[in-house]
């Protein structure tokens, strides 16, 4: 239960959403007459299973989507006033800012240049496109000092850690005097120490009368920090409760229904006792990122058939580049990678041969490497399944697609619905389903449950574990979710600033692993 519960929440409504409905082409109803009030000086957790409409609701509140019907009221001096939020800039002008899971910063620019862009486009605090950076720098330094954070404002964003980027986003919200901050899964996977720092920052903001909407699919997180919890289910608001008055089980049942809620468990899944031959062998691997910086620094790794090797770590420590190099998607600077008992050298083979060997790949950059949003589920699956056919066997692929959609409970009106109309979680389910199907020898999975709700995440973890145990697949699991790593990995490494630390056993104390993540 929360250690931070707010005692004196004022009963002043800051934002009121009334009867908000939103649907997407193909008959996807994302929100159905949702009404929700947000009070000044509160932290409201918004929870729900995949496709429940959480993201759609916050995207409406921050101007990414316009609702089909319903009204939004925002408090102004004279009271609540009906508004239309037509764009994110419009939302910022009204004092509403979103901090998303993927930091919305321009990597090539410095911190100060990034924030200047926002200030100039909003024309607030005396800034415009002609303002000198030193003037803006002064404003920012003052804000940073207020909350006691030291950071070089002239640092390029690509040099920042994930945590620092999230900090910059929250500071940006403070600088533009946001009254309402929407946090969309942005803190979920930070290590506990870093998370506590953020929680403190949010509590400080709450004390100043600002309101925070925390979108999360982690019930413990919602229980720990929020004052109230709103539960969405299939586009409807099914429950709004004071956090101190409920238990995690109550929230879980509201989210999934009694039957499915019972399926959630966090115990370790059973492993194989003996592993097979070496399927993925990495020797002294060095890889550069998109900016030419060496981000994988001499990594050695072996994954055997039937084994799950988990790599824990905070996002942005070279995990993505490591995975992309192993699968042949990124150039190797030096070192060796062998797949399938040393028979294929990735440096010479290329991604086509690796994939044809039966290596599944759940990428970190889902929308860049994982799916084509303009195409439907069947077409996306056809690219993987019909690799060797010149004429596409559509009836076979439609059958496979239908099976995968029902097995993974993808919420979609049809397998012919363009994937751009699916929720983020359902898109991930399609990718995971397809790549598990493709994995005949090995699977490289980056955050395979990142946007999934508890029940779906549970199911995916079981599937991965099953695949390793019963089909003798070698699995390299890269995840920012330490619970997940501890639950299904047989061997654990921690990746920090491009280096691998380990091997560790699943019995290693959690604190020890976290220490390696943040050292």
């Amino acid at each position: 239960m929360s250690n931070y519960r707010h005692k004196n929440r004022e009963n002043v409504v800051l934002l009121s959403a009334r009867n908000i409905s939103k649907s997407f082409p193909g008959g996807v109803v994302a929100l159905d007459r949702v009404s929700l009030d947000l009070y000044a000086g509160e932290i409201l957790a918004l929870v729900g299973e995949n496709g429940s409409g959480k993201s759609t609701l916050v995207k409406i509140l921050c101007g990414v989507y316009v609702p089909d019907s319903g009204e939004i009221y925002v408090r102004e001096h004279e009271g609540l006033r009906r508004v239309t939020i037509s764009s994110p800039v419009d939302a910022m002008i009204k004092g509403i800012v979103m901090v998303s899971q993927i930091p919305q910063l321009v990597d090539n620019l410095t911190i100060i240049e990034n924030i200047s862009l926002t200030l100039a486009s909003l024309r607030i605090r005396g800034a415009n496109f002609y303002s000198s950076l030193s003037k803006i720098s002064k404003i920012m330094s003052e804000e940073f000092e207020k909350i006691g954070i030291k950071i070089d404002l002239n640092e390029k964003v690509y040099n920042l850690t994930y945590t620092q980027k999230q900090l910059v986003e929250i500071l940006r919200a403070m600088i533009i005097n946001a009254r309402i901050i929407l946090i969309d899964e942005a803190l979920t996977y930070l290590p506990i120490l870093e998370k506590k720092r953020f929680y403190q920052l949010l509590l400080n903001l709450r004390e100043t009368g600002k309101s925070i909407v925390l979108v999360t699919h982690k019930i413990p997180e919602a229980m720990e920090i929020s004052d109230r919890i709103a539960v969405l289910k299939t586009g409807r608001l099914v429950s709004v409760v004071n956090t101190r008055e409920v238990t995690p089980e109550y929230i879980r049942t509201a989210m999934f229904g009694e039957e499915r809620a019972k399926q959630v468990r966090y115990s370790r899944l059973e492993s194989k006792s003996v592993y097979g031959e070496e399927r993925i062998v990495v020797k002294e691997l060095r890889v550069e990122d998109d900016y030419g910086r060496e981000v994988v620094k001499g990594v050695d790794l072996v994954v055997r058939a039937g084994e799950i090797v988990g790599i824990a770590g905070i996002t942005g420590n070279g995990q993505r580049e490591l995975a992309e190099a192993i699968v042949g998607l990124r150039k190797v600077k030096s070192g060796e990678i062998y797949i399938n008992s040393n028979s294929v050298n990735v440096k010479n083979a290329g991604i086509k041969d690796i994939r044809e060997l039966g290596v599944g790949f759940i990428p970190d950059r889902l929308f860049e490497h994982g799916i084509s949003l303009e195409e439907d589920i069947v077409e996306n699956i056809a690219v993987s399944v019909a690799r060797r056919d010149m004429i596409i066997p559509w009836s076979l692929i439609e059958k496979i697609s239908s099976d995968l959609v029902s097995t993974f409970q993808v919420v979609t009106p049809s397998i012919k619905t363009p994937t751009k109309y699916l929720s983020g979680g359902n898109v991930l389910k399609v990718i995971v389903a397809r790549e598990l199907e493709a994995a005949k020898k090995a699977l490289i999975a980056c955050n395979p449950t990142r946007t999934l709700d508890e029940v779906s995440a549970m199911y995916v973890r079981e599937k991965i574990k099953n695949k390793a145990v019963s089909e003798n697949i070698a699995v390299l699991l890269i995840s920012e979710d330490l619970d997940e790593i501890l639950m299904i990995s047989d061997t654990i490494y921690v990746m920090n600033t491009g280096k691998l630390y380990g091997p560790l056993t699943p019995e290693t104390p959690r604190e020890e692993i976290e220490k390696l993540m943040v050292m």
Binding site: P25, D68, T84, L373, E374, E379, V383, I391, I392
Partner: protein, 374 residues
């Protein structure tokens, strides 16, 4: 209160057909209003425009533009903007002229016409593909945008052909005109029906239409084959699917082990090959010889085909409709000039007003404008 623009989530049935028809109607209306302001009788103008839409004279343009529209659709679906249809179309005529006028000239080295025609077609496809591939190579391996490259290649094609027509391919039996000799009759692909249309209007129309279709029988067969190929290619062929995905997310293809450079080359080569095939068929069917300063004397099919592909919204089902509209408009412009109702600017004005209404209607179909609260 203020206005906001929101993307529509529902579409209506036959949307593409309806708004093409609406834009046509409104575009002509705008054009007539402008004409009326200029003191030209809208009735006269309307009659001439209307006649063009039901004229057998559009058959040739319609067939060529359908074939080339499908070709450009293939590269456009891959997000490769092949503006070089013009160059690929005309470059493909070079081997046609060489085979029929020099290598297999019936006067001193006759060959079975079907073999020569097949050779001309294949070589035309090859040259068309090669010309498009040049731009694709720059795009795939040097990341140089294909739009300026294909555009520049059009001019290189014009000058190359002009050089050849002025030099090695210069005709000897041209009555003093600067052009190649006429392609020998045995290699031509027309059926000339010697009929003089008579009877009532409908009979005259039908007889003229049959005569036109017979004369352009090769282009007719070609357009049908290319249209069927395009349908099959995008519906059943793996490369068609790859091309579609290349247009929306090439990164996904890469991660699936597909070489996107090869897809770039393939999409452009297939597009160029179809245009090349159309070019060589056009030479044997309609043109009959290559004139000097080709660019001043021909229809600019490469550019009109870009318009056709765009008007179809990159939907192959709409390509014949777009080709029909564009060829009718082009002929309407010519008819207006012939009727003394204005110069070439009439054509541009008419096409311009239809494109304007098309763009506005397309916007309104995709988006709705709502009144919003501050």
């Amino acid at each position: 209160m203020r206005l906001i623009v929101v993307k529509r989530k529902t579409t209506f049935k036959y949307q593409a057909w309806i708004y093409t028809a609406m834009s046509l109607f409104l575009g002509i209306l705008v054009y007539l209003i402008i004409m009326a302001f200029c003191g030209i009788s809208p009735v006269n103008v309307l009659v001439n425009v209307a006649k063009s839409f039901i004229s057998p004279n559009i058959v040739k343009d319609f067939l060529v533009l359908t074939a080339m529209g499908c070709a450009l659709l293939i590269s456009f679906r891959a997000a490769l903007w092949n503006i070089g249809g013009e160059g690929q179309f005309y470059m493909a005529m070079i081997p046609g002229a060489i085979f029929t006028l020099i290598v297999f000239n019936p006067q001193y080295n006759p060959a079975p016409p079907p073999i020569v025609v097949i050779l001309v077609a294949l070589s035309g496809m090859f040259i068309g593909a090669l010309w498009a591939l040049l731009a694709a190579l720059f795009k795939a391996y040097l990341k140089i945008d294909e739009v300026p490259v294909t555009l520049i290649l059009n001019y290189i094609a014009y000058y190359t052909i002009n050089y050849l027509v002025y030099g090695p391919l210069k005709g000897r039996y041209t009555y003093g005109y600067l052009r190649t000799d006429e392609i020998p009759g045995i290699y031509r692909l027309n059926i000339k029906l010697h009929v003089i249309p008579r009877g009532d209007t409908l009979q005259v129309f039908l007889q003229s239409m049959v005569a036109q279709l017979a004369y352009y029988i090769a282009l007719l067969v070609l357009a049908i084959l290319i249209y069927v190929f395009t349908w099959w290619f995008f519906k059943y062929c793996k490369i068609g699917l790859y091309i579609k995905i290349h247009g929306s997310n090439p990164g996904y293809l890469q991660a699936q082990g597909v070489n996107t450079k090869h897809i770039t080359l393939l999409a452009m080569a297939i597009s160029g090959a179809i245009i090349g095939l159309t070019g060589s068929t056009y030479l044997l069917s309609e043109l009959g010889r290559i004139p000097y300063e080709l660019e001043r004397q021909t229809a600019g099919y490469g550019y009109l085909a870009v318009l056709v592909a765009w008007l179809s919204l990159l939907d192959y089902r709409m390509v014949p409709i777009s080709a029909y509209i564009v060829s009718s408009l082009r002929n309407a412009g010519i008819a207006l000039q012939a009727a003394g109702l204005g110069g070439a600017e009439q054509t541009f004005l008419l096409i311009g007003s239809i494109l304007l209404t098309y763009s506005i209607i397309r916007f309104l179909v995709d988006y709705e404008v709502r009144i919003a609260w501050k």
